[in-house]
Symmetry: C2
């Protein structure tokens, strides 16, 4: 039972006025109202107007084709359904959510992405899920909206980068998530990046921190963010000294996710950095069934493209600008 084959796949130039005259138009509008709005069956309508149900069907087809009946599908709020579908398709993701930001302000974008991520978590989290949260700046504001959550264990999956964000905020958000969830929380009260591998090793054996790390293998849903390898786009980039930044860039680093570095092909670039950060490993990440990555801003499009190639991410939440650039990049390939 395929309706209107063709007519709707090739959208009309304008309202193609195929209708003959006012009487038929009125009949079409009336029948369409009964059928589409009042939910009557075509048989009923046929009886009411004294027509055959086939005639009614043809009239309704006509009404759709001529633009009398207009069906539009648009998500309330900010999600761009079309871009979302396109990105999901083009990148082979389980899910892609593109928010159509009217504003270009970076903070607005971050807040929106975080807010959507919070909604998504609220929606897809089940009891006994183990949530790994790795937020940096992007998630920080938005996840404050997290007001409902099933009873989950919540694990912080990397340390805190305290230079820019008040510690208070991060701690509060973790605790808040655990509170609304009613489950246990495993925060990591330690810096993200440490001066040397020895310090990292010592901290990993700290009871509180190791408790969190012990959960990494059992995380079922994680939220991370993607940064481009440039100023202001990646917490890690910003935390490193200029020489190291340049060195990594020379070694092909284009993107960063949860302190892991990726080149343009989505391959992980192994550096000494891994030894002196407190974070989940890519192997552990890969085992997580649902990895939600956030990244906003058109300038991150290449970095997103890159990280998605690694196959670590199952859901991407981004904004329209980045989505469009991402799509045009993928088309070119």
């Amino acid at each position: 039972m395929r309706k209107h084959n063709g007519t709707h796949s090739t959208p009309p130039a304008a309202d193609e006025q195929q209708v003959k005259g006012p009487a038929e138009m009125l009949l079409a509008a009336s029948a369409a109202r009964r059928f589409y709005l009042e939910g009557r069956s075509k048989v009923e309508i046929a009886e009411e107007f004294g027509l055959s149900r086939f005639k009614v069907a043809r009239i309704l087809d006509l009404a759709r084709d001529s633009g009398i009946v207009r069906i539009d599908i648009r998500l309330p709020g900010r999600i761009d359904a079309e871009l979302s579908g396109a990105v999901q398709e083009a990148c082979g993701l389980r899910r892609a959510i593109v928010v159509g930001t009217p504003s270009d302000d970076q903070n607005d974008v971050r807040r929106q992405l975080g807010s959507v991520a919070a909604d998504l978590l609220t929606e897809i989290a089940k009891d006994d899920d183990v949530l790994g949260l790795a937020w940096g700046r992007t998630l920080h504001t938005g996840l404050a909206e997290l007001t409902r959550l099933p009873q989950c264990t919540i694990v912080q999956i990397n340390g805190v980068y305290s230079q820019r964000i008040a510690n208070r905020g991060v701690v509060e958000t973790v605790q808040r998530a655990a509170d609304v969830s009613g489950g246990r929380a495993y925060p990591i009260y330690a810096p993200l990046i440490l001066p040397d591998p020895d310090t990292a090793r010592v901290l990993r054996s700290d009871p509180g921190i190791s408790a969190a790390f012990a959960w990494f293998g059992r995380i079922t849903k994680a939220v991370v963010s993607i940064g481009a390898w440039q100023e202001g786009s990646s917490t890690v980039y910003d935390a490193l000294d200029p020489a190291t930044r340049a060195d990594y860039r020379k070694r092909g680093v284009r993107a960063e996710m949860s302190t892991h570095l990726f080149d343009a092909d989505g391959a992980e670039v192994r550096t000494g950095l891994a030894d002196r950060v407190l974070t989940i490993s890519t192997e552990e990440l890969r085992r997580i069934p649902e990895v939600i990555a956030l990244a906003g801003g058109a300038e991150k499009a290449e970095a997103i493209d890159t990280v998605l190639r690694s196959g670590l991410v199952s859901t991407l939440i981004t904004d329209a600008g980045a989505a469009r650039r991402l799509l045009s990049a993928r088309e070119r390939v």
Copy 2:
């Protein structure tokens, strides 16, 4: 098979956001696109998304109820479907066509009504129809748009009121209608109102005029216009001297159609006027299967109400202002 029982008969206050989260919303939008826009079946959609067809049905219901899918029915151009239906219902007419005039200018309204009448004639006239045309000012301009017509006989059903309108125009329009139709025309080259019954009698036996009158009994579709018994609203009123106008008004006349006068109950008011006009009789009118009446302007609402009660009219073409007043008058009864 009744869809969405209730939900759509009670329109939601706003977009009732019943949807759980972004993922479900996205799924709903995606499924709705496939179903409503691409015309896929629910079974296909279910297969594509790996759901049962029931789940798909529920998602689609949700999408409609939550406002993701918006179906609106509106006629392209100027016809107001809702008012048309309401008037048709309230007045027990076979058809009612209400044009939604943005302009209040009387000439604009007349042009629109005439144009719609032309379209309607084009649509419903069949070969071998005998069309009776009685136009006054309202139809004069609009019927110029008559560009297509099956082969019909066209009969002018009343004389010409030449004081205000150039004769040339009327004659031209009649001939034009006959030309586009390819049928024969029976114009009446004589005034509508004559000074006395004798002159009328003489003229009725004029070969050309009596030829037209001879067709009156066989007319299958007629177009007439309704006037209120006041200045500028009825050709007949305007043509009479003040004393006669007042006299008729005193005798209950509220409306005029094709020189026939009606009181507030829709009963015909018999006056001497009938003997000195050249027009079709109400008895002949009543035998015509389709009588299309035109009347525009809110000030004619009462007159329309009145004439419709006579039962002579099967189709009304009017404007939104008159329609609304007509409806509120009928509601009060």
